[in-house]
C-alpha cells in the first residue's frame, strides 16, 4: 500500500469536506442564527487536519492501486463521518455525545436516515441544513463509488457491472476515465436534485424545506427537517413527487446516463435489473394497499396513498414516513422491512442486498431445481441473454452468506445489549440495509438505545454501505502483508 499517496488523497478529501461546512454558515446568516461561529470552528479544524495530511505529501505522485482503492473507499466514510460529528458536538442546541454525534453523522453519510435526535422542529435551520447536506454528499459518494470504483474492486460480484454488463449499459464505466465518469454522474445527480427541489417547491413546500428534502430524497437518505417527516406536509402532491424521485434514484445511475445519452426511455424496461425493480415495487405496493384496505386499517383512498408511499420509501431504503407503519397490522411492517433486503438497484443511492444480486441468486435457485430434473442439462445463468460468469455467481453467493451472517451476529449483539427481539431485528435490518426507521423502540428515533447498541449499529451502517467486503477486507492480515 502506498501510505504517502493514500494520505494525500485523504488530506484532499478532508479539505474538500471542510468546504461543505461553509454553506450552513450562509444558512445561519440568512436566518439570523448564532451557529455560524460553531460551523466556522468545525470548518477550521477539518481544514487544518486535512492540510496536515496533504501538505507534506502533496509532492508524492503515483497511481492508486486496487488495494489503495479499498482503503480510500473505506476512509471516505470513516474519516468523513468522524469529522462530520464536529458540528453536532459543538452545537449549543444539541451538545451530542461523541457516539450520538457519530451515529448521526454515519447515518447521514451512509444515507441511512436513522436519527438519535428528537425534536427536529426546534433545531436551528443551519444544523438541519447540515444534516440534509451530509446525506446528499453521502449519496453522490455512493453513486460514484458504486458505479466507478466498486466494479473495479470486484466486490461481491459487482464486477458484473464492469465490462461485461448486459443490456443498454454495455460498459457501465460510461466514459473511459473514472474522473470523467464521476463528473457525468455528478451532473445527473445534481440535475435530479434541482428538478426534485423545484417540484417540491411548486407543490407547496417552503424553499428551505424543498431544498433540504430534495437532498435526502435523491440520496435515498430519509432525513427530514421535521419529526413527522414527510407526513408533516400532509399533501398528496408532495407524497407523489417524493415517491417518484425515490423510485428514480433507486435505479442504477449508469442506466440513467445511458437513457439520457441515447434519448431512449425504453432502456429502463430493457434492463433486467430495473425491470425487476419496477415489477417488485408494483407487486409490493399492490399487496400493501390491498392488505391495508382489507385489514380495515384505512379506507380505499388512504390505503392506496399510504400503501404506495410507505412501500416505496421502505423498499428503496429511504425511510421517509407519512404514517406510523409500526402500528399497522403485524404482517405489513415485517413485509416492508423484508423487502428492504432487496433494496434498490446496484449503482443507485439505495441500500440493501441490491436487486441485481437477488436476480442472480433467484436464477441460481431455479437452475438448481432444473438441474435435478435434467441432470445433463447445461444451464447458464443469463442476464439479458448473456452468460453470467460462474466467478460472479460465486461472489454473489459469498456476499449473500456473509450478509446474513453479519446480520445475525448483529442481532445477537443487540439482544445481548438488552433489546427485545423485534427492536434488535428491525434495527439491524434498518442499519445494514441503510434503511433508517425500525420497529419497536426504534420506530421513530434511536435515542433510547445504549452506547454499545449504537456502536454496533454504526458498524452495521458502514458494513451495509461498503458492501461488507470492502470493509472486511481491511481486517484481514493478507491485505496488510506487503
Amino acid at each position: 500500500m502506498h501510505t504517502a499517496i493514500t494520505a494525500r488523497v485523504l488530506g484532499l478529501l478532508l479539505i474538500v469536506f471542510s468546504l461543505t461546512m461553509l454553506p450552513p454558515v450562509l444558512v445561519a446568516m440568512l436566518y439570523g442564527e448564532s451557529t455560524s461561529q460553531m460551523f466556522l470552528l468545525a470548518f477550521s479544524i477539518t481544514l487544518l487536519v486535512g492540510l496536515l495530511f496533504w501538505l507534506p505529501m502533496r509532492a508524492s505522485t503515483g497511481e492508486l492501486r486496487t488495494r489503495d482503492g479499498f482503503v480510500v473507499t473505506v476512509f471516505f466514510w470513516l474519516v468523513l463521518s468522524t469529522f462530520g460529528t464536529l458540528p453536532f458536538m459543538l452545537s449549543d442546541s444539541l451538545h451530542l455525545s461523541f457516539i450520538d454525534a457519530l451515529f448521526e453523522s454515519i447515518s447521514g453519510l451512509t444515507t441511512t436516515g436513522a436519527t438519535v435526535i428528537a425534536g427536529l422542529d426546534e433545531l436551528p435551520k443551519s444544523i438541519l441544513y447540515y444534516r440534509q447536506q451530509l446525506q446528499w454528499l453521502g449519496g453522490i459518494g455512493i453513486v460514484v463509488i458504486a458505479v466507478a470504483i466498486l466494479p473495479m474492486l470486484g466486490v461481491g460480484g459487482m464486477q458484473i457491472y464492469r465490462a461485461e454488463t448486459p443490456g443498454p449499459m454495455k460498459d457501465s464505466k460510461i466514459t473511459p476515465r473514472i474522473t470523467e465518469t464521476a463528473n457525468v454522474l455528478f451532473k445527473i445527480y445534481v440535475a435530479l436534485t434541482v428538478v426534485c427541489a423545484l417540484a417540491y417547491w411548486i407543490a407547496g413546500m417552503s424553499p428551505f424545506d424543498a431544498v433540504t428534502h430534495s437532498f435526502s430524497t435523491v440520496a435515498i437518505g430519509g432525513f427530514s427537517t421535521h419529526d413527522a417527516s414527510i407526513g408533516f406536509f400532509d399533501s398528496s402532491a408532495i407524497m407523489a413527487i417524493c415517491t417518484f424521485f425515490m423510485v428514480v434514484s433507486g435505479i442504477n445511475f449508469a442506466l440513467h446516463y445511458a437513457v439520457w445519452h441515447d434519448r431512449e426511455l425504453s432502456f429502463y424496461w430493457q434492463d433486467p435489473e430495473a425491470k425487476m425493480y419496477l415489477a417488485l415495487l408494483a407487486v409490493g405496493a399492490t399487496i400493501t394497499c390491498l392488505y391495508l384496505y382489507y385489514s380495515g386499517t384505512y379506507g380505499w383512498s388512504e390505503s392506496i396513498r399510504q400503501g404506495i408511499f410507505q412501500l416505496v420509501s421502505i423498499m428503496t431504503t429511504t425511510g421517509f414516513a407519512t404514517a406510523d407503519f409500526n402500528a399497522w397490522p403485524t404482517f405489513l411492517p415485517f413485509f416492508l422491512i423484508f423487502l428492504s433486503f432487496f433494496g434498490a438497484c446496484a449503482g443507485s443511492t439505495g441500500g440493501g442486498i441490491k436487486i441485481g444480486r437477488m436476480l442472480i441468486l433467484w436464477q441460481q435457485g431455479v437452475r438448481e431445481i432444473y438441474q435435478l430434473v435434467h441432470p445433463n442439462a447445461v444451464l447458464p445463468i443469463k442476464i439479458n441473454n448473456r452468460k453470467v460468469p460462474d466467478r460472479i455467481a460465486d461472489a454473489i453467493w459469498a456476499f449473500f452468506g456473509v450478509y446474513l451472517a453479519v446480520f445475525y451476529l448483529m442481532v445477537l449483539l443487540l439482544l445481548a445489549s438488552g433489546l427485545d427481539y423485534v427492536t434488535a431485528w428491525s434495527a439491524t435490518a434498518a442499519s445494514l440495509n441503510n434503511l433508517g426507521p425500525g420497529l419497536g423502540s426504534v420506530a421513530s428515533n434511536y435515542s433510547e438505545l445504549g452506547g454499545f447498541a449504537k456502536w454496533v449499529l454504526c458498524w452495521g451502517m458502514l458494513l451495509g454501505r461498503l458492501e461488507i467486503f470492502t470493509l472486511l477486507v481491511l481486517f484481514t492480515p493478507t491485505f496488510w502483508r506487503r
Partner: protein
C-alpha cells in the same frame, strides 16, 4: 459453362460433382492438394492448388474466360475477396460466395455492403441456413418426406409415402377432384419400389408409393390427408448435435416447439446454452441410452440427428426409434447410406449436399430459372422457370399444355401468374411472364426442358 470453384471441402466437392455431371468445365482451387487429388481421381475436373483469392492462382485456374466463380471455402473473408478479385481484375460475370456469418447478411448492412461498387458478390449462399430451412419445412408438415418451396413459398411440392386405407389410395388419379373439390392439386410423380411412374389420369396409387404432389401452400394438409392418416403437428423435438445446423434450427424453432438439444462437447454446449433462450441444452452423447431415457425420448414427436458424423447420426436415430420416438429424421451426407436407410427405421433422410447444391443449380441453368430443387438424391429435379418471349419465339407461350411437346418424364405441374397459383390442367394456356413449375423424373432430361423454355434467336 466454365466454372471455377474455390474450396474443395464438402460443399465444394459435391458442387463440383453435380456440376461436372451436367457437362460444365469445372476447375477447383484449394490449398489442400490432397483433397484436390481425391476429387480429381473421382471426377472429370481440373484442379489448381493454392490460395483461391490470389489473382495468380485464379489466372492459372482460367478465370479470364470463366463464366462463373463459386467461392465456398469455410472462410467468409476469403470468399468475399475472391469475388472482389474476380470482379475487379477479370470482370467475371457471375460471382457466388458462401457467407456463413449472419452479421454480413444482416439486412441492415446487406444492401450497402454487397453491390458492384463495394463487395461484388452476386449471390450468397449459406449451406447451413439452406439445410436449416429445409428441415424447418419438414418439421412444419408432419408426415412429409420432402417439402420444397416455389414462388416464395406460396406453392409447395411435397413428397410423402402413401399409406393404405387412405381415401385416395387404391383410386385412380383422376378422382382426385372428387375427393378434394376445393383444393386443386396435381400429382407430379410417383415412385413405386424406387422406380418412377409417369402419372396419368388412370394411374392407381398403391400402398407404399412415394408420391410427389404440388399444391398451393394452404391446401397441402388437405391433400396429404387423402394419402395418409394426417399426423398431429409436432410439439416435442429432440435434436442431437449442436453444430451449425443444429444450432440454427433450434434458434429458429425454439419458440414454437419444445426442444431439447444434445451436444457432446462441453464447450459447445455452454455456447449453445448462452445463445439459446428456451431450448434445454444437454451435454452428453446422442447415443447414450440412459440420457435419452432420462429426457423422455419415448414421448418425443421427432428425433433429429444432425451431427456431422453420418454413423453417429444413423446409430442415434436407430436407438431413438427403438426407444419409442414416433419419427426420426437423420442428416446423412453419404448418398450410399441415405439409400440404405431411408424407408426403414429412419423416416426421413436429409441430404445436406442435395439441399445446398439445389440452391446453386439455378444459377448455372440457361433458361430463366428461379429455383431448382434436387429430389431423390439428385435423380429427379423440380424447376421453377420464368416464361419469356411470345408465340413466335417461344415454344410454349400461347399454347395449351396438352399441345406442348414436353420431353419424356417432364411434367408441367403448376404455374404462378400474378402471385396466384394455377394448378396445370390439359387446357391451361401458358403466358409470357408465368412462373412454371416443372417436375423432371429423370435428371438427364433437364437439358431438354431448358431448351423448351429458352427463347428462340428471333426474339432478339
Amino acid at each position: 459453362m466454365k466454372i471455377i470453384i474455390v474450396g474443395a471441402g464438402q460443399v465444394g466437392g459435391t458442387l463440383a460433382e453435380n456440376l461436372a455431371r451436367e457437362y460444365n468445365d469445372i476447375t477447383v482451387i484449394d490449398i489442400d492438394g490432397k483433397a484436390l487429388r481425391v476429387l480429381q481421381d473421382r471426377l472429370d475436373i481440373r484442379t489448381v492448388s493454392g490460395i483461391g483469392s490470389h489473382p495468380d492462382i485464379l489466372v492459372r485456374a482460367g478465370i479470364e474466360d470463366a463464366d462463373m466463380l463459386v467461392a465456398v471455402t469455410n472462410s467468409d473473408e476469403v470468399n468475399i475477396i475472391a469475388c472482389q478479385v474476380a470482379y475487379s481484375l477479370f470482370h467475371t460475370p457471375t460471382k457466388i460466395a458462401r457467407i456463413r456469418a449472419g452479421n454480413y447478411t444482416n439486412p441492415k448492412y446487406y444492401d450497402k455492403l454487397f453491390n458492384d461498387k463495394h463487395m461484388p458478390v452476386d449471390v450468397m449462399i449459406t449451406p447451413e441456413q439452406v439445410v436449416t430451412d429445409y428441415i424447418t419445412r419438414l418439421v412444419a408438415q408432419p408426415g412429409a418426406l420432402q417439402v420444397l418451396d416455389f414462388a416464395n413459398g406460396i406453392i409447395q411440392l411435397v413428397g410423402l409415402r402413401a399409406v393404405k386405407n387412405s381415401p385416395l389410395v387404391g383410386q385412380e388419379l383422376r378422382t382426385i377432384k372428387e375427393h378434394i373439390p376445393h383444393a386443386d392439386a396435381r400429382v407430379a410423380a410417383i415412385y413405386r419400389r424406387d422406380r418412377a411412374i409417369f402419372p396419368t389420369g388412370t394411374t392407381v396409387i398403391e400402398d407404399g408409393d412415394e408420391v410427389f404432389f404440388i399444391a398451393a401452400k394452404n391446401n397441402i394438409r388437405k391433400v396429404m390427408s387423402e394419402l395418409r392418416k394426417l399426423e398431429k403437428p409436432y410439439h416435442r423435438l429432440i435434436i442431437a448435435g449442436g453444430g451449425n445446423i443444429g444450432y440454427r434450427l433450434t434458434k429458429a424453432l425454439e419458440h414454437d416447439y419444445n426442444i431439447k438439444i444434445i451436444e457432446s462437447s462441453k464447450q459447445r454446449a455452454e455456447f449453445l446454452s448462452e445463445k439459446l433462450d428456451r431450448a434445454v441444452v444437454l451435454n452428453g452423447s446422442a447415443t447414450d441410452q440412459e440420457l435419452l431415457l432420462d429426457e423422455n425420448i419415448d414421448r418425443a414427436d421427432v428425433f433429429l440427428a444432425l451431427t456431422n458424423d453420418d454413423e453417429v447420426n444413423i446409430m442415434a436415430s436407430l436407438l431413438a426409434k427403438k426407444l419409442g420416438t414416433k419419427k426420426v429424421m437423420t442428416l446423412i451426407s453419404n448418398p450410399v447410406y441415405a439409400d440404405l436407410m431411408q424407408g426403414g427405421d429412419i423416416d426421413v433422410a436429409i441430404s445436406p449436399q442435395q439441399a445446398t447444391t439445389s440452391s446453386l443449380l439455378a444459377h448455372v441453368r440457361r433458361a430463366d430459372t428461379v429455383s431448382v430443387h434436387s429430389l431423390r438424391r439428385g435423380a429427379a429435379e423440380a424447376l421453377e422457370i420464368i416464361v419469356h418471349g411470345d408465340e413466335k419465339t417461344s415454344k410454349v407461350v400461347g399454347r395449351r399444355i396438352e399441345d406442348i411437346k414436353s420431353p419424356p418424364g417432364a411434367t408441367l405441374a403448376a404455374l404462378v401468374r400474378d402471385g396466384e397459383v394455377h394448378i396445370a390442367h390439359r387446357d391451361t394456356v401458358i403466358n409470357s411472364g408465368d412462373h412454371v413449375i416443372v417436375f423432371v423424373v429423370d435428371k438427364a432430361n433437364t437439358r431438354a426442358v431448358e431448351k423448351l423454355f429458352t427463347v428462340g434467336f428471333s426474339f432478339f
